[in-house]
């Protein structure tokens, strides 16, 4: 048997426990094949358990392991990194629990936070010179891990309760989808729910619009005093949250 044929048979054995493949590898190999199969499944199960601890707490060990077993059967790993194996688990949960959308959304939050944990580093914001910034011309550069996730349930509240070891609220659907901002503040992955105005403001600024232009837009929308206060309040929070990496100037 060629090396390629042997490795294809091994793959069939691990994926499907194919008896024909095991027979071709050899009857004397049976005890060893059982060890490798156990290692393979155990490794993937451990990966999912570690990556989705909150989902596991929400579902319970038995239901979680059942979902993981289905995922392992249906989604063989393809990347050299085990981190990638966690990426598609939310889709499996969505298929398994179509009427309990908070489960897949909890998994999405955990997946995104996991990716953020090892995402690109950002430079430290130079806070010493904030007073000298020309805010009208300022271009805000946000940390590279900042991104958004749309949710249709109160998964964010459930996640927060479970990670704080508090009694989680019951799952409910939201009247309209909400947007979460997720990012890493130094080394700590974090997220919070945005209102429509802040989401719009962040998107506007991420497209290269100056802070001054955003202020003008808000003043036009809600009036001079409220617009300026709104812009200033959001800026202060982004700074406090560690969302901003750098403040540049329009050239």
């Amino acid at each position: 048997m060629s090396l390629l044929a042997l490795q294809r048979d091994f793959r069939s054995w691990l994926n499907t426990e194919a008896d024909e493949a095991a027979a071709r590898i050899g009857t004397a190999a049976a005890p060893g094949l059982a060890v490798y199969l156990n290692n393979y499944r155990g490794q993937l199960l451990d990966c999912l358990r570690e990556s989705f601890g909150v989902v596991r707490a929400w579902l319970g060990d038995s239901a979680f392991d059942g979902a993981a077993a289905i995922h392992i059967e249906q989604q063989p790993p393809h990347s050299w990194t085990l981190d990638a194996y966690a990426l598609e688990f939310p889709q499996t949960l969505e298929r398994l629990y179509p009427d309990d959308r908070e489960i897949a959304e909890l998994a999405c939050i955990e997946r995104e936070l996991g990716m953020i944990f090892v995402g690109p580093d950002s430079a430290s914001l130079d806070r010493a010179h904030l007073a000298e910034v020309d805010w009208d011309a300022a271009i805000l550069k946000f940390v590279p891990t900042l991104h958004f996730l749309s949710v249709s349930t109160n998964a964010a509240a459930i996640w927060s309760s479970l990670t704080a070891n508090e009694m989680p609220p019951g799952a409910i659907g939201l009247d309209r989808p909400a947007t979460l901002a997720l990012w890493r503040d130094e080394f700590a992955p974090t997220f919070r729910t945005l209102d429509d105005g802040e989401y719009d403001a962040l998107n506007t600024l991420r497209n290269g619009t100056t802070f001054g232009t955003l202020c003008t837009k808000l003043v036009n929308a809600v009036g001079e005093a409220d617009g300026a206060a709104l812009a200033g309040g959001m800026l202060a929070r982004w700074l406090a949250d560690g969302m901003i990496e750098k403040i540049g100037k329009r050239s």
Binding site: N15, G26, V35, W80, D83, G119, D121
Partner: protein, 276 residues
């Protein structure tokens, strides 16, 4: 490259604080990390590794290169490893004589190879490619295995041929020799006598568990007496070599591992005296 006998430990999460926060440096000559855990863009794990690297030489030990894949080696993997190598400047870069990946499937396990001339061609080609991308000599580790295929040569003959073909060096895992010898019924001392001693640059010591019919390489126990005996038997024959203890599960306090490492030190001293 290490120029004298040195002793290290695998760097594991429960011991990060010990390695970073102690006012006194941990008494090891180097640490070894699992390469894939740090082949990432950024975040705390890389920060920890960079800070540990400021205190200790680091060896990179991989588990996913899959040098035995019949369909070749993963270029993306190699290039990411090169980035880490350039950042950390490790004393060694190692991986296993095994395969994990075939045609887009990755088992995340160290699967066994038949020791044939075809396999030797495949593994040699893959290692030469890896060494070319990494710009350095690799260390290849003998695996623990649970299946022995009919082959054309023994594992130690295969390793000897591989070293000659590729210029690679060896990471000799003494526990793996013991486990495979027990599982497949060969003589561990013959194995140790058969490997090219002058190519061994690093040694792994670890514990194992008794499975249903086979010994399993679990790294969850102290190094057993039989493995220490093998270590003592081979150490005196080797040139400059770095010894370390691998512990991946049921990880004890760092002080326990340092005590175990002292056993290795004392055996090494005895082995050198005997050889002299």
């Amino acid at each position: 490259m290490l120029t004298q006998h040195q002793f290290g430990l695998g760097l594991r999460k429960p011991h990060y604080t010990d390695f970073l926060d102690s006012e006194q440096k941990v008494a090891v000559d180097f640490v070894e990390v699992i390469s894939e855990n740090f082949m990432i863009e950024g975040g705390r794990p890389l920060d920890v590794l960079r800070r540990v690297r400021e205190r200790h030489p680091v060896a990179l030990h991989g588990v996913s290169m899959s040098v035995g894949s019949a369909d070749g080696i993963d270029h993306d993997y190699l290039h990411r490893l090169r980035v880490l190598v350039d950042a950390i400047e490790p004393i060694f870069v190692s991986d296993h004589l095994s395969w994990s990946r075939i045609e887009g499937f990755n088992s995340h396990d160290l699967l066994p190879l038949p020791y044939t001339s075809e396999t030797l061609d495949t593994v040699s080609t893959n290692i030469l490619r890896a060494q070319d991308v990494l710009g350095r000599t690799m260390l290849i580790e003998n695996p623990s295995s649970y299946i022995a295929f009919p082959g054309e040569m023994t594992e130690w003959e295969f390793l000897d041929a591989l070293c000659r073909r590729t210029g690679c060096e060896l990471l000799l895992d003494v526990n793996n020799v013991f486990v495979s010898a027990s599982n497949h019924g060969f003589d561990a001392l013959s194995y140790l006598a058969g490997i090219p001693a002058d190519r061994v640059r690093q040694i792994h010591l670890a514990g194992h568990s008794q499975g249903h019919e086979l010994l399993i390489d679990t790294h969850d126990q102290t190094v057993p007496a039989a493995v220490w005996t093998l270590y003592a038997s081979v150490f005196g024959r080797l040139g400059p070599v770095a010894t370390m203890i691998e512990r991946d599960d049921a990880i004890p306090p760092l002080s326990d591992l340092l005590d175990e490492l002292d056993i290795a030190r004392s055996i090494a001293v005895g082995g050198r005296r005997k050889a002299a």
